[in-house]
Symmetry: C2
Subunit: 311 residues, 2 copies
């Protein structure tokens, strides 16, 4: 079973929620300080590096273990590890998530010309990689994407291509209207569909190995995109902290309630500090708050998708 088929099965058995892991080391440190009192850093810089690494590791481990019973999919953002020189920890955390049984999405948004994309593809989509799928950027066009597709076909792993991102300024380039009346994101969707067919030449799979990132903050556009990309799995960010509601995201799903997963990162990680949960959880219990929020979000999403299918 290829990555997207496995993902679809998880959606149907456990629900569509993706627990985003964007561990901001500065926030983690202030959480540690707030719950344990001021951290006492040693003078030695290397000891400090080790302490930071172990706090990063502890946070991610606690997060992944807490959510294991509620969520089947995790998306881990490389920027937050790269920002503090912990790329090594990124890989280790991804391996740990894989061992816990998660479907692991590497949120990388990488892109380059072909010979460079080949390097990224070899690293992240090889058999030994802990990642089941990764996010990539389409701006270079087909020859920059092809190394990912070729390796995906070989290993059965997947990619999610940015089509319409969840942020406000995404309109500046992605919504530009072309001479034929289509928008840039619609053209990118057509390319994504072609790239997907390349990974599934016999057309015998419900979902091919090339998924699309479609922001939850744009329900009208998601509806159009679902039509342009019928065999494309959607990764939908923007639910929770970025403002989209469960009602906004239902249009991303297919008629069987599959074909899409919905990410929440800050909404889950920082739940202890949210209006909904802050009376119930102190900062020391942040991972219990995350678990409660994940459980709530998972059932809210499932209920909305079900209601949408019955309409």
């Amino acid at each position: 079973m290829n990555a997207m088929q496995r993902l679809n099965q998880i959606v149907k058995e456990r629900g569509p929620l993706v627990a985003g892991l964007d561990p901001d080391i500065r926030k983690i440190l202030s959480m540690v300080e707030a719950s344990q009192g001021k951290s006492d850093f040693p003078d030695d810089i290397m000891d400090e590096v080790n302490i930071l690494e172990s706090q990063m590791w502890d946070f991610c481990e606690e997060y992944l273990e807490a959510l294991q019973s509620e969520v089947g999919i995790v998306k881990i953002n490389s920027a937050f590890f790269e920002a503090c020189g912990m790329e090594y920890v990124y890989w280790e955390i991804a391996k740990f998530a894989k061992e816990l049984g998660y479907f692991v999405i590497g949120d990388l948004k990488r892109a380059d010309i072909g010979n460079t994309s080949e390097q990224y593809a070899n690293a992240f989509l090889c058999d030994e990689s802990p990642f089941d799928a990764i996010t990539i950027n389409p701006y270079f066009g087909t020859d920059g994407i092809k190394p990912f597709l070729d390796l995906a076909k070989e290993t059965g792993k997947g990619v999610f291509v940015l089509v319409k991102t969840s942020n406000t300024s995404s309109a500046e380039i992605q919504d530009l209207v072309l001479e034929d009346g289509k928008t840039v994101y619609m053209k990118v969707a057509e390319l994504v569909s072609q790239w997907g067919n390349y990974t599934n030449p016999d057309g015998d799979e419900d979902y091919n190995l090339v998924g699309a990132v479609v922001g939850a903050t744009h329900p009208e556009q998601a509806k159009e995109l679902r039509k342009i990309m019928p065999n494309t799995f959607f990764l939908v960010p923007g639910y929770g902290a970025q403002g989209a509601t469960a009602k906004d995201i239902v249009v991303n799903f297919d008629k069987e309630g599959g074909g899409a997963v919905v990410n929440s990162s800050r909404g889950i990680m920082m739940a202890y500090n949210s209006k909904r949960w802050k009376d119930q959880f102190t900062i020391e219990k942040w991972s219990e708050a995350a678990k409660s929020e994940a459980k709530r979000a998972q059932s809210e999403l499932s209920a909305e998708v079900e209601a949408y299918l019955e309409e």
Copy 2:
């Protein structure tokens, strides 16, 4: 003096050539094998990792030292380090290049929504970072770019935004024609120009801190882009191995022969194996071949730019 002003000074004093460093670990290993006989790998995987790391390090060090007398600017591509788990070496090599006096461009092509871009910006554009400038991808629009601009203003470091990339498939998205007759890359150029003005609000600098990546393989489009972005520094890849000639790239420069730098990666690194140099250099002398090719390319580019200015 900000990063782009320093870059312009280097172009005028030493020439516009950027030595690209894209160290493919598999190629390095086969070069080592070919010149020293088959490498004898130990059984222990950690020893093997250390040997790979030291071969990567040796190659990069030899490259940077060999070219020091010929070239003032180096562009180091993160993918080739990330592909083999050597992100740590990436930073160390960048620091080493900085110590040798190079203007160091981090070729990253990163992009994300604002809160994530902030992480990348903090890592790569802070005062302590060895990078003078980095490459980024515009697909998210202004709010994804702003964290880079804000930090650039603070530290005087620069960014180069992908506008028109050197690869063939760049046309698929970047050349799409909009309803007003402009292309996507022209709209991106307008954004780049706005972003640049934001970093130089008084308009008192020849070149602002937001540069553009404009492929050497598209001279006609480069001419248009020079007009849209008069105060934008151009980073021009595609010269050498990707097929563009020195004549193709002259249109990227300003009337004083500044405002652009021209990258060659494989053309320099693999010069020992090129038609031009292979009779003169064996594989053991690859870095001498690289030096000869850099010297030749530097003077070819300078001569063409000079001839263009006299036209």
